[in-house]
Structure formats: C-alpha cells, structure tokens
Symmetry: C2
C-alpha cells in the first residue's frame, strides 16, 4: 500500500498538518474554518483596489452570463429561470469556499447538454414535473459525488479523463450542440431529441424538405451569429478589446428584443422566450427523489455530470493557477464544487461548474479574488427580481446564435494536431471520444475514451523498450546506441537497459527480449569476427519496481544465461527493486559481486583492460 502512503506523506505532514502544530484550540478551530472557507482568510486583506477589479470583472462576466444561462437552460431542456437561479446561488457558495481566484461559476454548455441528454433518455416528456424533479435529483447527486471525491481525497480520479479525451469530447460536444442550435437559428418546429449527428442532420434535412423554417428567424439568427463571431475575432486579435466580445451577447439580446418588439415579428412566427419566471429561487429540497426508481437513475446521471463538470472546472482552475502562480488544492476545489451543487439542488438550480468562456472573460476583465463571483451573483439577483419581463420578446434565435458562438471555442484543432504529433495512442483516445459523441452518445464516448487511455498504459507496460547501451567516447556515460550513434559497445559485453518497471504483463517479454538481443548481437559480432559476449549487463535505472512474476522471470533469465556460459550483471538497481531482490534471495543467486552502482563500474570490473578498449 505504498502509493497512498507516499501520496500523503509530504503534502499533509508538511503543508497541512504543520500549520496546526503547537496552536491553541481556538486558533486550531479558526484555522480549520479558514481552510474550509478561504474567504475568511483572503477576506481580511481585501482592499478597495481588489474590489474595483472584482466589480468590473463581475459586471462584465454577468453581461455574458445572463444570455448564456438562458440559452444553456434549453440544452438541459429546462426553463430559463433555473439557470439564472444557478447563476445566483452557486457563485455565492463558491466565493466562500473556492480557492481559485479566476473561475466564474454557472451552468456550462457541455454539462448542460450532457444533463439534458441523460435526463431525456429516462423521461421523454420535458414538460413533466418528473423531469424537473429528476434534474434536481441529478444535481444533488452530482454535488454528493464531487463532495465525496474531495473529502475522500480521490481527486486523482479526475485525471483519469486524459487531456486528449477531453479535447475530443469537447470538440464532439461542440459540434453536436451547434447542430442542435440550427433548430432555433432556422426556426424549425420539430427536432429530434437524440444527440447524435445522424439524427440531427436528419431533422434539419426534413425541415428543409418540408419548408419548415422561418425567414425572419433566420435573418435575426444569422445576423446575430455573424456579429458575435466578428466581435469574438476582434476580442481575440486585440486582447484589450476582449470586452467587446464579452458584452456582444447582451448587445444582441437587447437589440434583437427591441427589433422584435417594434416589428411585432413574434406574430410572424418568430419564436420568443415569452416568459421567464421572476423572483428568487424557490426551495426544491422536497422535490428531490430520495426513494423510488428514480434514485438510482438520478445518481447515475449525477455522477457522470458531476465528474464531467469537475473535469472542466479543475482544468480551468489549474490553467489560471499556473498562469498567476498560486497553488490550487484539487481536493478542496471538489469540496467547494460539491457543496455548491448540493445547495443548488435544494434551491431549484441545475448543475453548475466553472465555465471556460466566462472564466476567461472574468480573468481578462481583471478579477482579483473570488469576490467577482459575488458581484456576478448580485447582478443576476437584480435581473431575476426586476428585469425578467424584458425578455418576453427576446427571440430564441439569438440564444441559438449565442450558444453556437460560445461553443466554437471548444473545437480545438490545434490541440488535436499537437496530440497527433506527440502520441498516436492519445490521438486514438481523442478520436474515440470525438466520434463517440458524434455518432453514439456522450456517455459511451466517455467510456470509449477512458478505455483507450487505459489500454495505452497497459500496452506500454506490456511491451517496454529494451535498448542496447554503448559508451559515449571520452566519458564514463552509457547511453542508447540508437539515440547516440557515437556510443560504442564494449568487447565481450552486452549492456541493455529495460525501460519500464517489470510486472507480470511484461516480465516474459523482457526476459525473451534480453535473450534475443544476446543471440542477435552474438550473430552480428560473429560476422565481424568479434569476441563472443561473456557478460550481459542490465541497467536497471528505469526499473522502478518489480513484482513476484518479474522476480521469477529474472531467475529463469539467470539460468538461461548460465547454460550459455554468460554472466548476468545488474547495474544501478533502485531502492525498491533492491529490497525485493534481497527478499527473494535473488541477489545471492546472481552474486553480490555482480551488482553495481553504475554501468561504468561493471565495465571497469568485468570489461576488457584499458589497453584493449
């Protein structure tokens, strides 16, 4: 059980526990409270200067967040006010508990889509009360999952969704989301509820064939989309003009709402939001399913959505933390996210997380602390209490164009190219997730991507490299002769390096590989009339661990070499492996005089005399 132990040794003893050492009980309690609510810590040093930064950032983020929220609620097949509720309650909780200074909290596109897709798989009628209740249940369990991962310090599980898998998943989801938005953009009345690309394209084709589209809607939608994409481009080119892109969605909403109101386009078939329920969140604790058949389903949906939401938030958090150089405790973040979603589920919200686009705006607008989330929350509160009637004439087409513009960020072709260049297996995982999302569904896509990622590790562990080392002229360094062509081999010696820990999956491969190299090198040397190999030196520097299968295959290797009158020599054996070799008495079989600190040492002892070299 070493790994867990080593995981905690340094982190806890030195940073977490040291803080509490020798303090009074009251002080300990205060420190503990501060550790759960970082706001108690940074709040004491909060300045007017901080407030200015946070205020502007919060305001800018809010102007992006409100139209996005209304749009994302549609992805989850829920009424817009639930998303606004989420943007009011969850940022407050996060501001108190979160440790990132840049994340902006609220519903996010991919998580909303995932939630919507999984919910409608179980309950087809989106207007039914059951659907809403299952949504709260899923949100509750998403929070519980996140909290549990944080409390149990299982944050590492998030890393099991590899970077490549996330890139593929997000790109695929962006395409699916955009395709679904064609419904709003073109004003198509009937659209599939499935998320795959085939069904989506089918619906669009069907609508075109039957002329089920609305010209006014198309004009509003496409002009907004073009405007949004242009402002986005400007924001990207000139970092100082990022605010143009940030307020563009709100501008679109206001302009298009006024246009519809003046022209009464809603009477010409342009669908509008019509009604957003105003006022504050209602309590939904009694709506959550705690028994019955929907508990298990709600848990499944919640667990998946919660983990995907965490992946997004943690990855954003890490990026900004590295950029501004502060440390982010992954487990603490999970506790904050979990609590905020649990609170959200009790107050009529659905799953919220840190969103890519808003966090970027928040950061660029100069946020200083998590207090920007409080500002954001207050703005949303004002909208909820005062301005909901304003959205009566807001056309749905605008929301669709906002979603499409927001999701273009998620398709990251450069990242895909880089993944292809770096690692073909990673690329497979990426494509697995991408095509999984596009042609199947989001859950399968995740399973495929995670499976491919793990198969990669098993593959690599099963067939490690065993390379031949040579001496680099003028030094006592031995390196891979393929990598350093100047490195030369030693007379009558074969020096090999095993590039992996030796486990049951690869121990026979490693043994066979060593014997094959021996045979091959002997043949090659015989052709050049060089001396036969008498010593096989195995450089164990990369062998970080060995298991019982590995030990017995080394035993067999020793016997095989013995029959060939070749001596087995080990060099640079690590601590763990050395202990196991001693436990299994293999050191005695091989002989202690055959185990060296370095390859150079082995060559000096058993190699040719200096004049022969």
């Amino acid at each position: 059980m070493k790994p867990l132990e080593t995981l905690f040794t340094i982190s806890d003893n030195n940073s977490l526990m040291r803080k509490y050492k020798g303090k009074s009980k009251t002080r300990k309690f205060c420190l503990c409270l501060q550790s759960i609510f970082p706001i108690l810590d940074w709040g004491r040093y909060y300045t007017i200067r901080n407030l200015r930064g946070d205020f502007i950032a919060g305001l800018t983020t809010a102007s992006l967040c409100i139209p996005q929220d209304i749009a994302y609620a549609k992805l989850a097949n829920l009424d817009p006010h639930h998303a606004l509720y989420a943007s009011f309650v969850t940022p407050l909780v996060y501001a108190a508990m979160g440790s990132s200074r840049d994340i902006a909290i609220g519903p996010a596109a991919v998580v909303s889509l995932l939630l919507g897709a999984m919910l409608s798989h179980d309950i087809r009628d989106h207007k039914s009360h059951e659907y809403l209740r299952l949504a709260f249940t899923a949100t509750f369990f998403a929070g519980v999952t996140q909290l549990a991962l944080g409390v149990l310090r299982l944050g590492f599980l998030i890393d099991f969704l590899s970077h490549a898998a996330i890139v593929g998943f997000m790109s695929g989801a962006a395409i699916i989301i955009s395709l679904q938005q064609l419904r709003g953009l073109l004003g198509i009345p009937h659209f599939t509820k499935k998320t795959d690309i085939i069904s989506g394209i089918g619906s669009v084709k069907n609508a075109i064939v039957h002329h089920e589209w609305n010209l006014e809607t198309i004009i509003i939608g496409t002009s907004c989309l073009i405007f949004l994409l242009i402002t986005k481009y400007i924001g990207k080119k000139h970092k100082k003009l990022f605010w143009v892109a940030a307020i563009a969605p709100m501008t679109c909403v206001i302009v298009s709402t006024i246009c519809v109101y003046i022209t009464r386009a809603d009477e010409k078939g342009v669908s509008t939001i019509n009604h957003i329920k105003g006022g504050l969140n209602s309590v939904s604790a009694n709506e959550i399913f705690f028994r019955g058949k929907y508990v298990v389903r709600g848990f499944r949906i919640g667990a998946v959505a919660g983990i995907v939401a965490l992946t997004e938030a943690v990855s954003i958090g890490r990026t900004f933390a590295a950029m501004k150089h502060y440390t982010l405790d992954g487990n603490k973040e999970m506790v904050a996210m979990g609590t905020m979603n649990i609170v959200g589920s009790l107050t009529s919200c659905f799953v919220a997380t840190g969103s890519f686009s808003r966090s970027a705006v928040n950061n660029m607008a100069g946020c200083e602390t998590a207090a920007s989330n409080i500002v954001l929350s207050i703005v949303v509160l004002l909208v909820l209490t005062l301005f909901t009637p304003v959205f009566k004439y807001t056309p749905n087409a605008v929301l669709s164009s906002i979603i499409i513009a927001a999701t273009t960020n998620l398709v990251n072709i450069n990242a895909v190219i880089m993944i292809w260049k770096i690692d073909k297996f990673d690329f497979m995982a990426c494509m697995g997730a991408f095509f999984g999302v596009i042609f199947m569904n989001l859950e399968y896509a995740l399973i495929i991507a995670v499976s491919i990622s793990f198969v990669k590790i098993v593959f690599r562990v099963t067939w490690p490299k065993v390379v031949v080392l040579g001496k680099i002229p003028g030094t006592s360094i031995y390196r891979n002769i393929e990598q350093y062509p100047k490195a030369f081999q030693i007379t009558a010696m074969l020096i090999l390096r095993v590039d992996s820990a030796i486990y049951f999956t690869n121990c026979n491969f490693v043994k066979d590989r060593i014997l094959r190299w021996l045979r091959y090198e002997n043949e090659e040397r015989a052709e050049c009339e060089l001396a036969e190999i008498q010593y096989v030196v195995v450089d164990m520097s990369a062998v970080s661990d060995i298991d019982s299968s590995g030990i017995s295959s080394f035993e067999r290797l020793y016997h095989s070499l013995e029959k060939l009158h070749v001596q087995l020599v080990l060099a640079n054996v690590g601590k763990i492996v050395m202990e196991k070799l001693q436990e299994s008495k293999l050191t005695e079989l091989i002989g202690r005089d055959k185990i060296f600190l370095s390859v150079a040492g082995a060559v000096i002892t058993y190699g040719p005399k200096r004049e022969e070299l």
Copy 2:
C-alpha cells in the same frame, strides 16, 4: 502503434524469416511444414538412445495417468472413458505439433473441475445427453480459443494472469477439489454440486449427522491416501525413487480392486467404478452445438477453460524449457494445444492440457522428446481395448484418494510467503483468487485476481516515486539519497528523478510532487541557512515515455518554476521523450542549453565552482 511493431521486429525478422531467405519453393514448403510439425525436424535425428528414454518415461507416466484420468473425469462429471480417450488422442497430436520435450498431455485436475463446475451451472443433469454435448462444444471452443491466440500471436494475453493470481487460484482449487473428494473417500451418497467451501462443508456435516457414510469405503480410501502421501514424500526426499510415487496410484488401484473382488465389498456398500466403456473413441463431430442457445454458453465455458488450460501448460513448458535450456515459442505451443483440443472435441474427448504432476514424472523418468507422449498414448490405447473390464471392482474411494494426493502439490505455501514478502499488491491478487475460489466460484476468482493485478499497475503508474538525488562522494554519480545516505546534495540545486513514464494519470501528481519537493527543500535549507535553490534538475532516465497530458504539465511546471525564479534543467532524456519534447516545442521553451546528457553535466555547467563544492 509502436509496441506491436517492436514486438515483431527482432523475433520475426531475425529468427523466423531469416530461415526462409533465399531458399527454393519446395525447401520453403518443407521448412514451413517443419515449423508447424516439429516432429518432422527432430524425428530425423531420433536415435535408439532417445527411444529408450522416451519409452521408460511414457510407460511411467501412463501408470500415473490412467488412474488420474478416471478420477479427473469425475471432476468434470463425465464418464471415465472420455478422459481415457483424451489421453489417447491428444498426446498424439501434441507429439506431432508441440515444441516442449517434457510436457505430458492429458486431462488436468483444475481444468476438469472448472469445466465440470461451469457445465453444471448451465445444465444441472449430468447424465443428460445435452451435458455431454455441451462438454464437447466447450472443448471445441477451448481449442478454437487457444488456436486463435496462437495464430493471432496474442500469446501475451496469457501473461495477464499473473504468477500470484495463478498460485492463489490453484491453491484454492486444490482445497475445493480435496473437499469434494471427501464424498468418495467417506462414501457419502448425497453431495452438493456447488463448488464453494460452505456448501461442501455443509454436505459433509450433513452426512456425518445422518450417518451417511460407509466404514469399508473409509478404510480403503484412507489407507490408500496414507500410502500415496508416504510414497510421495519418499519420492520428494530421494529424487532417484521418484518412480515409487509415480506407480503408487496404479498400485493402489490394483491392490484395492483385488481386495474388493475377493471380499465382495461392493455388496457391502463400497461404491465401485462398475463399468468403463471399452474400445476406441467414437466420432463426436455431430454432437457439437453449432447453433442454438448452447453455442454462446459453450463458447464462454470453452474460452475460460481454454485460457486456464493454456496458463497451466505454458507455465510448465517454460519451467522445463528454462531448466533444459531450449526455447519455447509460446504462440506455437498455443497452436499445438488448440489443434489437439479441437481434434479431441471431434473424438469424444474433453479439454486436455499439460499437467503439472505428469510432466514432472515424465521429466524425471528421463523423457528425451515429445515421443514419450506417443508411448503414453499407445499404453492408454491398450488399456482402452483390452483392460477396461478390470476396473469393474475398482472402488471410487481409491480415485478420491488419488485426486487428493495429486492436488496437495497445488497448495504452495512457500510461494505465497514469497509473494507476501516481495509485493503486497501481488499478495492481494493471490488472496483475491484464493478466497474467490473458496467462497464464490472459479470464474469470479479469475476476474477478481486479474482486476487486482491491473489495478496494481494503474496504481503504480498513477503515483510514481519522485526521489531526491545526491552526489556519491568521489564519483560523478548521482543516486537516491534515501538509498545511499552518503550521497550529498549540491548547493543551490535540487536534483530529482521521476521513476516512471509520465502519462495523464500521473502528470499532475509528478508536477505537484516536484513543486512540493522544491518547497520542502527550500524550507529545510533555510533552517540550515543554506542558499536557496536556483536550479531544479530532473533526471529523466526512468521516464521512458510521455504523452500529451504529460507535455502540458511540464509546460505548467516550467511556468510555475519561472515565477519562483527557479530554472528547470533536464538530464538524460531518452529517445522517445526527446522526440516528443521537440515536436511540442518544449525544448525551445525550456532552452536547449538546459538539456543535458547526464546529471553530472548539468551540475558542472550550472552548479557551484569546484572550490565551493
């Protein structure tokens, strides 16, 4: 897709393909035929001397094999003649196609038990014709699975059942088998068909409570068992007397049969074999299910039994090959085993494999080639055609005692202790398999053991060691300061070694670990009023691979260190990792002057001047 490629490069190009180079077509055909049927190769050099060795070995093995066969058939709930058929047909096929010189082929205890347990899970009535047909179907698919693994060169999959898992599985199976034999040994009429220990003990208890046992049977059974265990002990102590143990079962059978015949004990409730169908194998090709509901079940049973059978045979084969120093091509062995089981399934046999006990006897009796299997086969043929009526009075208790004596070998306490010493995770896999067999069933046990083994790999890959290196006085060698307490650290430098390939599962852990070491070391050095660390040197010698997540975490590490005014230096970067660093332009970010061939080189360039050291 590198791993597969590298797997084949050397083995095929140099040994397999080279043989065919520049040969005529006829010659190529002959070579190909020889490669499939090694008998065509070694048969040409066969001498009288070889024959003598093989004849004695075959005869000795047969005397052990015949009583064992009759007993093992009971484990599979089949009639004894099917096992004898298997010992007649399959050794012939193996002799022609196999490449091991020591394996003795026939039904084996664990595989027979596994087959019986899985078959009776699907069909409860052992006497029904369906049961027999499903047994043939399973045998057929066991052969197909083995053949497929060999032809597709997927032999490495066998290694996924780790040594530790096999030890646990075999020990558990031995206990279960022995427990079930109490039925025969005590003469209990009603016994559970389940394989777990609870049901077994329940049946025995029940029989004792209701006095459902037979004194004569107990006397015969226990005296035979004592005799067998004593001879076994003698055989182990004095290697030359191994034949005493080898012929002991046959002696027991003959003596007890005569006793029963003379005393007519069968009329006093001693159950006997009664009837073994004589004559040669009947064709069973038309009995195999090729459609209907039993095809899938037959396939599942066959695949599991086939893989377990292979594991046993390959592990024996490897042991003897290493002992006598000849190479064994795992894939070719699988083709031989697969063919022999397919042929077996067409001729009324059930799954055969290389058995531990018989192969050991075969080897000790001085077998020279696979021809000993032919001798064995001929002896079984004689028994089948001439001597089956002899077994009419053989008591079942003798068979039970033979099985118990044979399976005591499989409980390997020394191996378990060694596994505990070497690797605690391996021990968990071993115990998982053991308790899985004892309390659940054989299939679950396999799944549990394989899962634990893989979780181990993932664990180790997720939390690799990151160790601090120091310079060993008087050398330019840098090693783990925990392992070599004399190694000292360099002023203003922190030298770390990452002991694993860097993948998505561990990249954040590695990054955090490096930063924590930096913080910790800086604190420690500040306490001793030593200079602050300016350079972090990462020894990459054990980092055999890196993926795209790893690259981006290194990028983040670089930025984090930059903020702390600490320079990142890499040493001893391997070929694969170097290529990836270049592809991702990380080499340019870090700076080419920060990448060194060795740690010593980095210290010479950036470390303190010699006089300061």
